[in-house]
Symmetry: C2
Subunit: 256 residues, 2 copies
Amino acid sequence: MATISPTPQIPGASAEAIAGIAAFRAALPSGAADAPTADGLCVLGRPKHLAKGQTLAPDPDNDRLVYIAQGSAKLIAPMGRGAPINQVLAFHFEGDLVSVPHHNVSAPGGDFRLAALCDCQMVTFPADRFLDIAQGDPMVLRSVLTLSLQALHRSRIRMMQMGHKSAVARIADFLISMADQLADCRSGSCAFALPMTRSDIGHSLGLTIETVSRQLTELREAGLLQTEGRSKICLVDVSALARLAGRLDCQSRLTG
Amino acid sequence: MATISPTPQIPGASAEAIAGIAAFRAALPSGAADAPTADGLCVLGRPKHLAKGQTLAPDPDNDRLVYIAQGSAKLIAPMGRGAPINQVLAFHFEGDLVSVPHHNVSAPGGDFRLAALCDCQMVTFPADRFLDIAQGDPMVLRSVLTLSLQALHRSRIRMMQMGHKSAVARIADFLISMADQLADCRSGSCAFALPMTRSDIGHSLGLTIETVSRQLTELREAGLLQTEGRSKICLVDVSALARLAGRLDCQSRLTG
DNA sequence: CGCAGTCTTGAGACAGATCAACTCACGTGG
DNA sequence: CCACGTGAGTTGATCTGTCTCAAGACTGCG
């Protein structure tokens, strides 16, 4: 990583970069928005523009925090020995602050990367320096902590799904979670565009693309959703999907 | 939650309780060990003794942070509609600080509980007040944040396992993770006692107890481990297990 | 010693992976 | 604007790992 002079010529397309930083500042807890701590963080942040499909260059030395100012991304873990298999750990959208552990060759699965699902604008921070500065304002530190506890909570629930749920249940759960995050919809019907491919969905749920496709077809035939083109999707009844996602009917005794 | 007078008569068995609080204080970042913030936290913490099998009473109002001063515990999520199925989200051991979200009846899977695997001594804190006080000392707040990021990282890796791995791989991974946490062993051979039942293992890995049992038998027959009684286990070659855990051979193409 | 609960082992069923065509969406260039 | 090609998505046939159901054996405790 080349060091960069702190001139007004911030790397990356200037207009977008400034917008990215501005979005980040606006997301800070209101009290801190014009405090020196906020200034410090804004100076520390490196704006980065990623085109669709591009991957944020891994950093071998520092854990990083990445703020997504615009667009959507996936956090992936390359796992392939032979074939390049990218397990998808999480999808992230505008406004998320993502923790990206540093690339650790030795540890198994110690390689996490953030890849853009569409053109997006990010702001990257080295985690330790971010926290050094954030320590200056407990409000900021605390809000980061809250975010990370939320992420932990989401990850745990996700894990719960993964462990015991049938393919339909996973897909249904994925869909309502996307409806929530992309269309801010928790019941009734809604339409939105999925920014990720079937392959991404499969790799995030532990299913093959064939299974993803089949389950979507079944849900369509059951009248629970409609599709248009590759990405546009319309959920007819979010609550019904939630019911499907919640119960762990099939192949899930696991009593004891 | 009843307010409790800050007299020396702390609720719970007194000697153990004091030891619990002392262990917690000792775990705080060294600089803060005798600062007023540490005092505040120690007064806030409620020592609790749990006998083997007991569950920490759920709190409907507050998220909680629970410090495990002694013993080992599992974080579970009751999922059953009909049968009481307890998905195991994580195992925690001495020195861990566990985030336990408050009991939320409406949310699916919004019911997390901490259950003791053996007699153990804990210190519970209401999360918000803990953070209020911890804000007084950025070092403390930051170390909590670091812990939570670690937990997130572990949970993500765990999710990675869950999604795509065969039964053998999950068991192997579970075993080396236990060797690491219980016997501080990362290669070679080591022996320890598993504090949890086959059922707990199964529920944490998304497998049935029968499958857990079968895989352990296979590993034993392959000479990779020895067992004695219900809980004692001896891993002959941790690295070999790690290799098994790492690769995702069977029924796991998921290419794309 | 005997009981209750945990663990092990076996036989068969089924969800989802795999392999293999085939179709369709969407961007490119004529 | 339409023909074309590539990569994404769909659909079908088969295979296999793990769940399920059903005994039986062992551990540890009263």
